[in-house]
Amino acid sequence: MSASPQPEGDAFEVARPSGAAIIRAVKAARVREIVALPDIVTSDGLLWPISRDPDFRLTRICKEDEGVSICGAMSFNGTRAVLMMQQTGLMDSLNAIRAVGVDYELPVVMMVGLQGKEPHLPAARSGSYGVRIIEPVLSAMELSYSLVEEPGDEAHVTQAIDDAYAASRPHIFLIGRPPEAP
């Protein structure tokens, strides 16, 4: 048996963002509609707590592009929503995001768990191809995104949602580590 020079990614102890703080930030942005498919990165820290929170209405969907359309349509009367999914679903939804979010300039706000990302590494250095390509793809599509990875990152969530609705443009939060459950 040989010793590994580096522990596996999940073996690193890393600080995680607070699920409770993210949820507070979402509420502070006047979001009450959550549209979601489960994602293991955000399951315990966000989606389960949200599903039990009477302040939210949770619409469970079968496929992620449904959520893009639901959130975009909701925005016509000012109803704010957040779409939750993992990055595989984001990739599967790119045409809907292109059409509804970019071509139609509608404010679709997404929280995307980076399933498969090593918690101690930035997405760009991940060993997972599916994780590594996310930021370049979003940049190529000229989509606004930000990271929620460490304690303190929650602080920008409210403003980013407000900005997305003010500009009527999509924004994507990339959740790089599982948020601590409330």
Partner: protein, 190 residues
């Protein structure tokens, strides 16, 4: 026997209230825009297959309005899971009409997989829609409309259609910011 699409749409027009939202796709949309131009026609579906999901978003956000979706069979095949999502969402104000002609009409009229065999009304029923109906006769369809639209949703109506008179395909309009702003203004006017 099948319904001429334009006649089916004309039969629907008297039952559409001023404050209803109508979401329509592809040739049905182009026909509808000519037959019944109105401020609350929603044309901003964007990606093929997404009409039912836009309809659900509008229904959730506007519970005091009826949302009438005029979908296509090729479109719905791209988003079949939305039947389950809609049935599970608890909306009672969504009415999902499907113009079923068995072809991808605006893409060269190639046949759909399962054309003539797939029963969308059965799919909607087993997905959990409150009501699911199927019509190939114009008189029967016309007679049933008041009851369907008075019932609590979600209701599903499969219209077995053939092209009647068709109207120009104005893609520039349906993708325009003017169309979106016009709808937004009408929606928020009251």
């Amino acid at each position: 026997m099948t319904l001429p699409r334009d006649e089916a749409l004309k039969a629907l027009i008297p039952h559409v209230r001023d404050d209803d939202i109508v979401v329509a796709v592809y040739q049905t949309c182009f026909d509808w825009l000519v037959l019944n131009p109105r401020p609350l026609n929603y044309v901003s579906v964007g990606a093929m297959g997404q009409a039912s999901s836009h309809g659900l978003g509008l229904a959730l956000a506007n519970p005091d309005r009826r949302v009438i979706v005029l979908d296509g069979d090729g479109s719905l095949l791209m988003n079949l899971g939305s039947l389950v999502t809609i049935a599970n969402a608890g909306v009672t104000n969504l009415y999902h009409f499907l113009a079923a002609n068995g072809v991808y009409e605006v893409n060269g009229a190639h046949p759909l997989p399962g054309a003539g065999r797939a029963d969308f009304s059965s799919m909607a029923s087993t997905a959990g829609y409150r009501g699911a109906h199927r019509y190939a006769d114009l008189d029967q369809f016309t007679q049933a409309l008041p009851q369907i639209l008075d019932a609590a949703g979600p209701q599903f109506v499969m219209m077995e259609i053939h092209g009647g008179e068709t109207y120009p395909r104005d893609y520039d309009y349906i993708h325009s910011s003017a169309a979106r702003q016009s709808f937004r203004d009408a929606l928020n006017r009251r």
